[in-house]
């Protein structure tokens, strides 16, 4: 399968999740609210969008880790002469691991998105538990910290004059997740948490 076509498997769920997270997500899911009652409430839509986004983030991060392992074997996955060439970015040994522990960025992404998935999944299952407000704050802080990592990775891409489309999808999932966690945190702080 073409690598850009395969990317759609991750990009489409991320975009759908992002649309559900945004305030105008209601108009998109109105026909589905009878079958899925949780989508009728603002809180339910943001939780659903956030779950979808975090799942897509886990998947695209694992795919990125897989690509970096394949490239290290001497193979290629999405090499291209155009600016969109994830092989050139993920396969660059100077930039493809974190500077402290040497862990591939895809592995770090997969771990972080699993943590985010745990936070949002458990919060959605028990939204009135006393730990939910803490979990939503942790999610907001983690995704906000991700902005600094994204900034550094985008800087690397500028240095290489190449863009890794798989990495960009993971960056987008982090931004969408930040908006989702932030919106849920604000809703949780209001007295209308159970009626939104």
């Amino acid at each position: 399968m073409d690598s850009n076509l395969q990317l759609m498997l991750y990009l489409i769920p991320t975009l759908l999740g992002f649309l559900l997270i945004l305030p105008f997500g209601r108009s998109l899911v109105t026909p589905l609210t009878e079958k899925y009652p949780s989508l009728a409430s603002e809180r339910g839509r943001v939780f659903s969008g956030l779950l979808l986004t975090c799942l897509a983030g886990v998947a695209v991060s694992f795919q990125t880790l897989w690509i970096s392992s394949k490239i290290s074997e001497g193979g290629n996955f999405c090499a291209s002469n155009s600016i969109l060439s994830c092989d050139d970015v993920i396969g660059n040994p100077e930039y493809n691991t974190d500077p402290i522990f040497g862990i591939p960025w895809g592995g770090i992404g997969a771990f972080v998105f699993c943590v985010l998935l745990y936070l949002v999944y458990s919060s959605s299952k028990e939204p009135n538990a006393d730990w939910v407000s803490s979990y939503l704050k942790y999610g907001t802080y983690i995704t906000f910290a991700g902005f600094f990592v994204i900034g550094m990775l985008v800087y690397y891409e500028i240095q290489m004059e190449k863009i890794c489309q798989y990495c960009t999808t993971a960056h987008f999932a982090n931004i969408a997740a930040f908006i989702g966690f932030y919106r849920l945190m604000r809703m949780n702080e209001s007295k209308d948490w159970n009626t939104i």
Partner: protein, 226 residues
């Protein structure tokens, strides 16, 4: 005894187990479908990039070590071309002394039919740097003089034209800024690496003290008569 059911603990534990299962399934799929090789300068690792401009006797042009690699090479294939890299400094006395051996080795294993070598071709490359040592003051002109064995430049306190051995016929990369040397974590010169046609480091002088490059080539590079 009264048992109580804790809903909150159950939600978090169940969720954690599910997410952990997802994480480990992902890791297992990657472990089962790939065999990652680290990039580095130890034996068995993939050689890092070696870039810059090289002099091959006629002028300076762009060099990229990756252009030598053949991802489809399999062990024992005699048609694959190996690469021997020397990290050197034209003002390093040991590098000047070893210039003669390098000339002989490059002629013996570089694919010249008259040499009697019936093994895979070994491409020799030198990466010339300028060490941060007093008296080590190199330049591109000095690299050219060292390689071509021409007079007029000083190599390790003697005229480059009087260095031992014949003129070299292999490329010299300009690494005067030590960029490649640092990338390869070379601690001293001369340092040697023998690299397989697929880009994997087969032998390094730092990991095999007492062994020389010629012995490594004779031991590791496949030959027809072996």
């Amino acid at each position: 005894m009264k048992y109580t059911y804790d809903d909150e603990a159950d939600v978090r534990t169940t969720t954690l187990i599910r997410v952990l299962a997802l994480f480990f399934v992902g890791i297992m799929i990657i472990a089962a479908t790939t065999s990652p090789i680290a990039t580095g300068t130890k034996e068995g690792e993939r050689a890092p990039a070696l870039e810059g401009e090289f002099y091959n006797g006629s002028g300076w042009s762009d060099f990229n070590l990756e252009s030598y690699w053949d991802a489809g090479w399999v062990e024992g294939d005699i048609t694959g071309q190996w690469v021997a890299i020397e990290f050197m400094d034209t003002d390093c006395p040991y590098c000047v002394q070893s210039a003669e051996k390098m000339a002989v080795d490059a002629n013996d294993f570089g694919g010249d039919a008259s040499s009697g070598w019936d093994g895979a071709v070994v491409n020799f490359i030198a990466s010339a740097t300028e060490l941060d040592i007093s008296g080590h003051d190199s330049s591109r002109a000095e690299i050219i003089a060292f390689r071509d064995k021409t007079a007029g430049e000083e190599c390790a306190s003697s005229d480059c034209g009087s260095r031992p051995g014949a003129a070299h016929n292999f490329p010299y990369i300009d690494d005067l800024d030590q960029e490649n040397m640092k990338k390869w974590k070379v601690s001293g010169t001369p340092s040697y690496y023998l690299i397989q046609p697929d880009g994997i480091i087969a032998w390094s002088s730092s990991a095999n003290p007492g062994e020389n490059l010629r012995d490594a080539i004779l031991t590791l590079v496949p030959r027809e008569s072996a």
